[in-house]
């Protein structure tokens, strides 16, 4: 299966005069687990819905398994699992009934996986959907998206309403799904610590564009905060290529750079007669640095 699971090209979407997706590009490679990171209201849900053909783009294209998202055929749909932010299932149905109802839409259904997860996630098959807690409903939403073992699983803020234990269980289930390497997962979140555990790639959404998409490890290895202490005052003169955020005070500077290579650091040392210490940044810190203007 070499076809690209999900591909957005110059995707543009406006709501009245607000531009939510602005000629956005995002290609999700097969077999990857991509965490989509963006602050509240940055358009993560719109991006996901557009990518799956649930929202129509004004301009640009969205493709799922090389088919236009807006006109996917049944085959492409059967390879797709989607968990919306707000899980909407019939309140009057029981948990087991709900699963059976959804299973009937698919040619294959992994009942042993579902039965195991029902037990592990402590969902009572006889309980009515209407009386489930928000977290339980979320779990059920995830369950019914997993039963047909989709090649592409898309989750919109899946962990948002789960307590820490349920979140850990969910992450483990997600890892299990990712473990076979053939499956692709895209999930949006603003919980950076979940993303750091599970995702191998991260895409950062900001002002309608993907401002970074690449390997999480690479991001952490390249983006660093440099503490610079120079012989002479730096005010006014100090500048570093690839600076994301720069603060200068007297002969000291604090600068976050996109690519803290040896060359960049050596140049600072030489140009400003300065000493430089390098600080590692975690994803949350990187995210914050990138959102500072």
């Amino acid at each position: 299966m070499s076809d690209v699971p999900l591909d957005l090209v110059a995707a543009t979407k406006r709501y009245r005069d607000k531009i939510v997706l602005d000629e956005l590009n995002l290609t999700v490679p097969a077999g990857s687990v991509v965490g989509l990171l963006g602050k509240n209201g940055s358009g993560k849900t719109t991006l996901i819905k557009a990518a799956l053909g649930l929202v129509k783009l004004d301009l640009g294209s969205a493709r799922v398994f090389d088919q236009p998202a807006w006109h996917m055929d049944a085959d492409a749909k059967s390879r797709l699992g989607y968990v919306p932010q707000v899980v909407n299932l019939y309140a009057w149905m029981r948990v087991r009934q709900t699963i059976e109802y959804i299973a009937a839409f698919y040619p294959r259904w992994n009942w042993s996986l579902i039965d195991r997860l029902l037990t592990e996630w402590e969902l009572n098959p006889r309980e009515r959907v209407g009386t489930l807690s928000v977290g339980q409903l979320q779990k059920l939403g995830i369950l019914v998206a997993l039963g047909h073992e989709p090649d592409l699983l898309v989750l919109d803020e899946p962990a948002a309403s789960l307590d820490p234990i349920a979140r850990r269980d969910f992450l483990k289930a997600l890892l299990e799904i990712a473990a076979d390497g053939n499956r692709t997962v895209l999930f949006s979140t603003h919980i950076t610590s979940d993303l750091e555990r599970v995702a191998d790639r991260v895409a950062i959404l900001r002002n309608g564009k993907i401002t970074y998409h690449g390997e999480l490890d690479e991001l952490k290895e390249n983006v660093k905060r440099l503490h610079v202490t120079a012989k002479n005052p730096l005010t006014g003169s100090f500048n570093v290529p690839g600076a994301v955020r720069l603060r200068v005070e007297g002969n000291e500077a604090l600068v976050s750079v996109k690519d803290a290579s040896g060359e960049v650091i050596d140049r600072i040392r030489a140009d400003y007669e300065a000493s430089v210490t390098v600080e590692d940044l975690n994803l949350e810190e990187i995210f914050l640095e990138m959102h500072y203007d």
């Binding site: 890892l175 990712a178 750091e196 555990r197 999480l216 600080e279 940044l281 994803l283 810190e285």
Partner: protein, 129 residues
Amino acid sequence: MAALLGFIVSPNSGVPIYRQIVEQIRAQVAGGRLEEGVFLPSVRQVAEELAVNPMTISKAYSILEREGTVELIRGQGMRVKDPGPAGNGKARKQALMPLLQQVALTARLLNLSPQQVISALKPLLEDKS
């Protein structure tokens, strides 16, 4: 057989998880806590135990294999190789580097010459007390 481990991984550190694992295994091999012939736990086991992406663990293991810290035994997993006196010394030196870099940095801030630093360090190294 499989030594799991005492790995401590903090996903929300600025150091990528695979590098945390590589460094810990290197240190354990250099320090003799992981002895020659011991098998590392499987990728799946570690991934499950630490609740991190299995690809992260594979990445760490393949780096360790490439540099010769461990070797892949088909059907059995990753086995710790004899670090040898040279490898051992190199690894231990590697562990000292971050501290030495700090020393060098502070020395520069204090405007101390390399000779001055070395002459200050020497008695400390030779101190047998």
